[in-house]
């Protein structure tokens, strides 16, 4: 079997990041954690974007993941991360299976709007119900990591985030190389012809929707662990808008793109917020405009252009 350069790269990245536990200063570990966690949510968006669907409601699963962790932790006294992960995956799969039967019938703007509506429904429920924490949300208590109790909670979360992000990224990469992965581009280009070829676009999109939701829920869980807090804003539509922004910024061409985009976004936002508190949204808006107009396939297309001597037809 030929060595997969992407897989190799991901492994190296994991090794470098794990080394960071001892080397990185605290602000950098936090930045990496948040970028990876939010990068996973974006990966969920990108997975659907490759099939031509833009979800303006991925915050729904970001929120579900975070709230599953926080509520199990603070209301039911769960102190083991493994339980949280399993719970988040189960809950998000269940929700996505149900909503997916509906959403997989919609395309374009209607998919975007309906997914946004579902995330706003969750927002509305959370904000108005004291039992679910209302606008305050919940704090996430300290956890054990598969039985291990680290001295600093953040060390455990950091390692967990890196490992989970690596596993999901590797699985995503394999998935995109599978027939189901390749069919995404075909569905985006012309769905009816895909059906003529004997594949069901609807069930495939449903499947992709569930996968994307689970990935995003894990992202939400990890970021809840990293910040130690969840609130309903996670399901508000501007949060989802940010994730779409990052997806556009990075591009859909490669598994690394969402993570790079997410890291850049965190950096830009941190500094823009610090130096231009009243104009940072404007900066984001301008960047988004420039990307859409000049780099419609995201920052990753710059990397592809640099590698253009070995064109890879599948990467789009």
């Amino acid at each position: 079997m030929a060595t997969d350069r992407t897989l190799l790269g991901l492994t190296l990245a994991l090794a470098a990041l794990l080394l960071g536990v001892v080397v990185f200063p605290q602000w950098l570990t936090f930045l990496v954690m948040m970028s990876l966690a939010r990068g996973l949510v974006v990966l969920g968006i990108v997975l659907q974007m490759r099939a031509g669907l833009v979800s303006f409601g991925q915050g729904l699963y970001y929120c579900i993941g975070g709230y599953t962790a926080a509520m199990l932790g603070s209301l039911y006294g769960v102190r083991e991360v493994a339980v949280l992960i399993v719970a988040a995956i189960l809950v998000s799969t269940l929700v996505a299976l149900v909503l997916g039967t509906l959403l997989s019938r919609y395309r374009d703007i209607f998919f975007a709007m309906l997914s946004m509506a579902f995330s706003m429904i969750l927002y509305g429920l959370l904000v108005k119900s004291p039992a679910l924490g209302s606008t305050d949300g919940f704090n996430v208590p300290a956890m054990t990591f598969f039985g291990w109790k680290p001295e600093a909670q953040s060390t455990g979360v950091y390692i967990l985030t890196c490992v989970l992000a690596f596993l999901i990224a590797a699985a995503y990469h394999r998935y995109q190389k599978s027939p189901a992965g390749y069919l995404a581009g075909a569905i985006r280009e012309n769905e009816i012809r895909v059906e003529y070829l004997g594949s069901s676009a609807q069930s495939l999109l449903h499947c992709k929707y569930v996968i994307a939701s689970v990935i995003s829920a894990v992202g939400g869980l990890l970021s809840a662990l990293a910040t130690g807090h969840v609130d309903p804003e996670m399901a508000y539509w501007t949060t989802s808008g940010e994730f779409v922004f990052i997806a556009i910024l990075g591009g859909t061409g490669h598994v690394a793109a969402p993570f790079i985009g997410s890291t850049l976004f965190s950096l830009v936002r941190t500094y823009a917020y610090q130096f231009f508190p009243y104009t940072w949204q404007m900066i984001l808006g301008l960047v988004l405009l420039l990307i859409i107009v000049f780099l419609p396939r995201g920052l990753w297309s710059l990397v592809q252009r640099a590698n253009s001597e070995k064109p890879r037809a599948a990467d789009r």
């Binding site: 509305g124 429920l125 808006g285 988004l288």
Partner: protein, 297 residues
């Protein structure tokens, strides 16, 4: 019985407000096939302009021209912003994928949000004088503000005006043709680009008017546009994208369901709006008055 009356009046007030916001949004979508996220910013700009004018005008004591000035200022702001956004940006990007256009207008929304902060600052404006000056009406034990009835009146005027403009004028009929089939209209010699500009400016003005009449009833603070836009989306999607009549029906549905929720079960206020939207989409994916689009092969 009283609750029923309160629900009816509150629902009507809320619906007229929603209709004003949604009419511009749906008109722009119908003609240009752009779901304009920046419409929320138009609302905010209208609200700020009117609150700002009300702030210095009503402080002077003479109120005869105050209301006209607020509305006029908002309309001028709408024309200005609409022109700048369409001429400066959108016209270079027509023909792109509808989803890309959403993202573009999302970028415009982000930019305008900060332009608003730069122009008017971050402190909230309270322009309550126009609201309280008109007095109140007592219906049994319930008190309603006369200003709110004025809002219903303005919405009705806008609704009738739009209907008349679209169905009884030459330009309006041509616009309906563009909404119905853009390519065929082009083939028949209609200057579709000119109608894009006209539509976008009218849509922006409608958004600003909605903001202007709402401003005295709320505190005008950063972020109001972001809240409004999702509600307007719900209304427009329920009614069917691109249908002005649909926006009216959608506004009434959302207005009354919200009023019902607020009076009977306040916890589900937001839930109801988007719940209704999801329900409508499940039954009629193209909205109540939308036309189903044939799929291309």
């Amino acid at each position: 019985m009283l609750t029923l009356l309160a629900i009816a009046v509150d629902g009507l007030i809320y619906a007229s407000w929603l209709f004003m916001v949604a009419a511009g949004l749906t008109l722009i979508y119908g003609v240009m096939k752009i779901l304009n996220m920046a419409h929320g910013s138009m609302f905010a700009i209208g609200a700020y302009t009117s609150a700002w004018i009300a702030g210095w005008y009503f402080a002077g004591g003479d109120v005869t021209w105050g209301y006209a000035l607020m509305l006029g200022g908002a309309i001028a702001a709408g024309v200005l912003v609409g022109l700048v956004v369409e001429r400066g940006l959108l016209r270079f990007l027509y023909g792109r994928d509808p989803v890309v256009m959403i993202l573009l207008t999302y970028a415009v929304l982000l930019i305008l949000e900060d332009v608003i902060k730069l122009v008017w600052g971050v402190d909230p404006y309270f322009a309550f004088q126009p609201y309280t000056l008109l007095g109140r009406t007592k219906v049994g034990p319930l008190t309603f503000s006369n200003y709110d009835f004025g809002v219903i009146l303005v919405a009705a005027i806008i609704g009738v005006g739009l209907w008349w403009g679209l169905n009884r004028t030459r330009r309006g009929k041509l616009l309906l043709a563009v909404i119905h089939d853009r390519e065929m209209s082009m083939a028949l010699g209609i200057d579709v680009r000119a109608y894009f500009l006209l539509t976008f400016v009218i849509g922006s003005v409608l958004g600003c008017i909605a903001g202007a009449v709402t401003a005295p009833a709320i505190s005008v603070a950063p972020g109001i546009g972001v809240e409004v836009i999702v509600l307007a989306f719900a209304v427009v999607v329920i009614g069917g994208l691109g249908s002005v009549g649909g926006a009216l029906v959608g506004a009434l549905i959302v207005g009354f369901s919200r009023a019902t929720a607020v009076h009977l079960l306040p916890q589900v206020e937001l839930f109801v709006i988007f719940g209704v939207m999801s329900l409508v989409l499940v039954v009629r994916p193209q909205g109540l008055f939308g036309r189903a689009q044939p799929r291309k092969i």
